[in-house]
Symmetry: none
Subunit: 153 residues, 2 copies
DNA sequence: ACGGAGTGCTAGCAATAGTTAGCGCAGGTC
DNA sequence: GACCTGCGCTAACTATTGCTAGCACTCCGT
């Protein structure tokens, strides 16, 4: 996974610009930023805001996301945090449901840890701890029967 | 599809903070920003940088991504694909676990649909269909007994 | 009553982002 | 040669972000 080194946003922008074979002034104009500022950014003298990065991305015809990643504003979708972040950001499920999903996910992760990581070969060996299963049952039971069963007992 | 309106980052932060039942000063401290500045942000008087948003997100224990979306820095991933795509791309859980998670998520979504969207009030009414629960049990059982039970029959 | 702790906010300031005006250089044309 | 166009950059400036010091208010305990 030879990702470009995060942090050298200026270098990255210059590379992309040179790849596109356009001058600094052309990119500045297309991006709608001043060319001296773009020059400063490329040389690492300034740290542009996300909005400026967005504009530069448009000028370069690349995704703003790529520039955000280079600038360290967002993480390059590391799978571990991505699922959790996605679940957290989801507004279509309730907070309780989010927590349940996250718990399940983390439980899966925990069980896979002794396997040493991403083993798709172990598809058939997907353990689900029974305490988690009972927690899920509690969610279902509370909705199914509507009685306030205490889970502590 | 009642998503929060993008752009009212200050309102969003205040709402999240009030949901978390912490004071402005507490959040400011947890986020590592000055409390007057946080106050200004909440009231829309200032436009925080992505870094500040990142810090605030940490203080709120939410994803920075959610704040970036609110602030308009990134586009709101379409929720259907975000969680599901993230789960699919995850390499730390097995394919079977991925499918289970996706099924759970979709089931949550489906149950929430008549509720009209993100109702955190309905936390206690998070229905989990019994067929899904049995599917989860099947995952657990297949791991517990280690026999190659055919699931087709 | 007072004092203390907590709350959110105001005013002023320092630091930084982003712009404008202009420079020197290179290449081309007459 | 002079002039023009295009290149990237410097210096000074404006606008904005983010902070510090301090205020007024509320609530509670003595």
């Amino acid at each position: 996974m030879a990702l470009p080194k995060v942090g050298s946003i200026g270098e990255y922008i210059r590379e992309q610009r040179q790849q596109a074979k356009i001058s600094l002034r052309q990119l500045a104009e297309q991006a709608g930023v001043s060319n001296p500022y773009l020059s400063q950014i490329e040389r690492g003298l300034r740290k542009p805001s996300a909005e400026i990065l967005n504009q530069i991305a448009k000028g370069l015809h690349i995704s703003a996301q790529a520039l955000y990643v280079q600038a360290g504003l967002i993480e390059d979708r590391e799978p571990p945090s991505d699922v959790i972040a996605a679940i957290r950001a989801d507004t279509f499920i309730t907070g309780r449901q989010r927590q349940v999903l996250i718990d399940i996910y983390e439980s899966f992760r925990k069980e896979n840890r002794p396997a040493g990581g991403p083993d798709d070969q172990a598809d058939d060996e997907s353990p689900l701890p029974e305490e988690l299963l009972s927690a899920i049952e509690a969610v279902t039971s509370s909705n199914g029967t509507r009685h306030q069963s205490t889970q502590e007992g």
